[in-house]
Symmetry: D2
Subunit: 348 residues, 4 copies
């Protein structure tokens, strides 16, 4: 069968990437695209790279317009998805690319986002280790899916195997990420201007205030972290449109061997298509995952510093957002998991 699809927030970056991937998906028909201030205009005016979708016109994002599809993707600013949930009660599958349905803790929501707390949906990171297996199992047949935060899923995938296996100590994680500005969306803010970012690196949300911190903690607890999970998390904007290169370190648990450490990651992702551990001594580049749904991990064991170091490369708009959404959709619908998704990056 062919599933009818609506994508809200279609003039933004996340919405655009969902559309780019869906455009090559043989099992869906993109019937409706919606936006806010740009409603009434051709999609191609706002997404000029989506040539195969030049026939689509942006409609208003209203419950009525979104209703009546098999699948609805919500790519809206944080805090806005919730208002559509009620009215989409009859929609078989809803996937939220925003944060509204990610957190299980109302306290975390209040501290890092604020506003109405919404019920948590099934988290859209299939490969994530969880109690008893992988998150994939929870996605089969799911009807409400929360696509992950791009930084959060990158760091969670980086460290969950070691946390689950007990070979690293989750109480003193440090993660620093080189990230491209597309993760911030198409927002007209001075610090996102090209003149400001070209040739420059700049940290933001320094000191424990970034919204993805509770999402990482939640994922690592779900992976079986024993004791407190604490993370020092610093994203650094760098001059590339897309991409996350996350360097995440955690103390080595007492008494574990190098082989045990490496085996934790190898066994966690063995056979996974979209999360791949590189051979020892190899580390990934974001160019290698550009446009691809792949998360590439490189692992080092630094005995002098007593830390495991994981470098992870992800395309924030694909594996970090839109690819995760569609991979999760494929699983929920019983389609081949890799449909419309590629492991090969566009490089150089």
């Amino acid at each position: 069968m062919t599933y009818s699809v609506a994508v809200s927030g279609a003039s933004g970056y996340a919405g655009g990437e969902i559309l780019r991937l869906l455009a090559s998906h043989p099992d869906v028909e993109i019937r409706t695209v919606t936006a806010h201030s740009n409603a009434g205009q051709p999609l191609i005016e706002h997404q000029p790279h989506l040539r195969s979708l030049a026939h689509l016109t942006l409609q208003e994002t209203t419950p009525d317009v979104l209703a009546g599809h098999d699948i609805v993707f919500l790519a809206l600013p944080h805090g806005q998805s919730g208002q559509y949930t009620q009215t989409l009660a009859d929609t078989p599958l809803v996937i939220d690319a925003g944060a509204d349905h990610r957190l299980t803790s109302a306290a975390d929501w209040d501290e890092f986002y604020g506003g109405d707390f919404r019920e948590p949906w099934t988290y859209g990171v299939p490969e994530l280790p969880v109690a008893g297996g992988r998150q994939r199992a929870n996605l089969v047949g799911a009807s409400r899916i929360a696509a992950p935060g791009c930084n959060a899923s990158t760091v969670a995938l980086s460290l969950a195997p070691g946390v689950a296996a007990g070979v690293v100590d989750p109480s003193d994680i440090v993660s620093v990420l080189a990230v491209g500005p597309s993760g911030a969306g198409r927002s007209l803010k001075p610090h996102l201007l090209a003149s400001e970012l070209l040739g420059s690196a700049s940290p933001y949300s320094v000191g424990g205030v970034h919204r993805h911190i509770p999402e990482i903690r939640q994922a690592l607890v779900g992976a079986g972290a024993r004791g407190d999970v604490r993370i020092s998390f610093t994203p650094v904007l760098v001059p590339m449109a897309r991409g996350i290169l996350a360097t995440t370190t955690a103390p080595i648990a007492p008494g574990v061997t190098d082989a045990e450490i490496r085996d934790a990651w190898e066994s966690a992702y063995r056979g996974e298509t979209f999360v791949q551990l590189l051979p020892a001594g190899r580390f990934p580049r974001t160019a290698d995952v550009l446009g691809a749904n792949t998360a590439l991990l490189g692992l080092a064991i630094d005995r002098a510093a007593n830390r495991v170091v994981v470098a992870a490369a992800v395309d924030n708009l694909v594996k970090g957002t839109a690819g995760a959404a569609i991979q999760s959709m494929n699983i929920a619908l019983g389609l081949p998991e890799d449909r419309a998704l590629t492991v090969n990056g566009v490089a150089p």
Copy 2:
């Protein structure tokens, strides 16, 4: 008086930056520039941005050519400076931009560099806290100066105040740096090609093998670190020609207050021209220091993670190398410390 100067390695990036700064220095005359394979060619062919030095021709780097100047700058590949030291015995001031004379420990040299160990020279980071004061005092009248490693001095300046004051624990430092490729010099290596780096972030020397690690340890010990100094250090190449944005974290020492932490940095750099702590909540961008001799630091205290976070922006070729060399030269010669150096970056 006017000092006569020779600069070796003048066709490289470090040599070129030394020349760019010296070109506006009223107390020196650039008499000699030398190179290896490019000897005999006009300097301007290799440094086309140095228009005011178009009259200079590259000579062979030989002891004879370098002899007879008041000041000699060595901007040679690591391991090559040492051979000139003997023959420059009569040169009043020699400044090495390479690593050969930085380390005080032969064991460190063997582990991270290899080859002949050379005597340590006075370390060229004037603002660095050392026992009893600042490194500046040691540079007054110095005749042999080792300019710092760019990453090393950035991280050392980031953390030394807290280490010296005992408000952070130096035994579990984590530092991740977004760095531009000019730090690697003008070397023809595939991973330094523009096609590889544009649009991509990639880590290197992951897992405790980067050569600047012992230099950081040495500086922090010199600043008064109690107990072991351990550092997890990961540089990430990002697509900007110049610049270092170092994110460095260390555990908060037990019982210290936020005010005590902040005061450690404020008092360390109060009155310093070239190392500036930004107000609370402000963090630097590398664009703000482009072409300038300034190191800008932003400090955050993350109680949830129990870590101090310092974000530091430095131009690797100026404050990280050539600017440090000339600032040190000014001090050694008794000239105004800021001569030929600016605090203002070229932005946007």
Copy 3:
């Protein structure tokens, strides 16, 4: 049926892009990949973005290794393809991504390349207007195909409709191109280092010496240019890994109306999938074609300057090289022309 394929030059940029596209082509099996100095190593070491091809090992580029396939792609330095032609006499389809078989004039070859002149093969730009129709017709059933030069095909596609219709004067064409460095291949040359290119724009091959000039002339003559074809051609390296933004202008022929001019381009590319004329007042960005096989054209008529201006955006490695090769292969084999090729760019 499934066609067996060999790709030579597989560790380079053009070879890598051919492989990226073939990896998703359902009708081919990539059986052999070859290289020169890297023979014996895993392909993935040199093309770490091609995760789905991690099982392949680079072999020596020899006639024996290349023989026995249904299709051979040659992605070798200019001047090297010719030596394999003889020995591949039994190969049903050979596609050369180099220049060796592009030019029909031995004099042009001598002037711009030098070395042995090789027989011209069928030119791989299907949409190019030629006498009596499109180049596509010549590609049906072809057994020897010369993929185009990336700059050459971009400029030829930009102007051929106007030249063919006689609405512009081909005797005083001016074309200036902003190009990324990947077009120069993975060559270790100082001016291709990231430090040199980041933040900088630089022209090269200025003043009528670029090798793509005769190829453009030949294409425009083939499109029906009356009288001399003369072109001032200047490429400018800019800091993006991929992409060509060609601005090409030609004098307006006497007496033609704006409608006639616009109609020349509209009718030439009406119905074409991969060459699209944007609406009046719209101009393309290279981001819109990144990774895509699309050439996007914007047309302006400047009566004050008496010139037609065409801005064209192309991904040099896709529509400019590898995509053109595979599109031509599809046509030659009677497969759907767009197989394994997309019109949608990866943006932002």
Copy 4:
């Protein structure tokens, strides 16, 4: 004496660059900085790279605030300078970095800008050939100076020597410029976002509508152009914060020799500090002029295309705007022309 200075528009890019250069000028005191919506805030909040000016606070841009200085710089949006002219009647020297006082033709103003036409001021490009000499002579003692448009002065300097000497035909000039986004100012427009520009080249104002066209025409007429001056002008945004690489071509006049052509440029700029013609076969990069007041020109003669090609590199914010303003100020005041200006770029 020390001149008191006010800079309006101090939170923008042009204003910021004027301040960066003035900060090292020994003959001026920056007394007042003004802005619009940011009035009341510290300058350093908006220009965090100007560390030496951290003591300044932005005031409202009003006639009263600007009055009473020896020199006032206006760095305001086009169309806003005029309202201050009357009230600054007593100010000895006013320099406008906007377009309001550049054009001598009210018709040009109406066609390309609109709004009130203002009287033309002395044009701030000292090296520009004009009837009987150089524009420098007109700037001596000037009290009202119009700093040039960055693209306009780059193209005018590129071609004026050939036009003045009659060795090129000004009736069919074609100029295509690779430009960085800082020339567009700190404006919150979607196409200026980093996500849009990184990795992408895009033309704008295509087809004869760019506002700098009449300014170029005016300059070339002033240089002695015989007959019509027509120019096809296309700027292309590329991913570098600063810089203009202008490729400008014009037909070779009948009967002139290569030596005559080259001599036109050589003799025009012989002895000039800030406009330099490179040796034959050499072409400039924008990196070579970053932060510098230098315009570097490379000249090629393409007999096959019958065109002279001039490639020019300029820092749009320095020689293109702020440097031109200060160089002109120096001349007007009888100071050394190069005070506070450098010929050396910041590279790599």
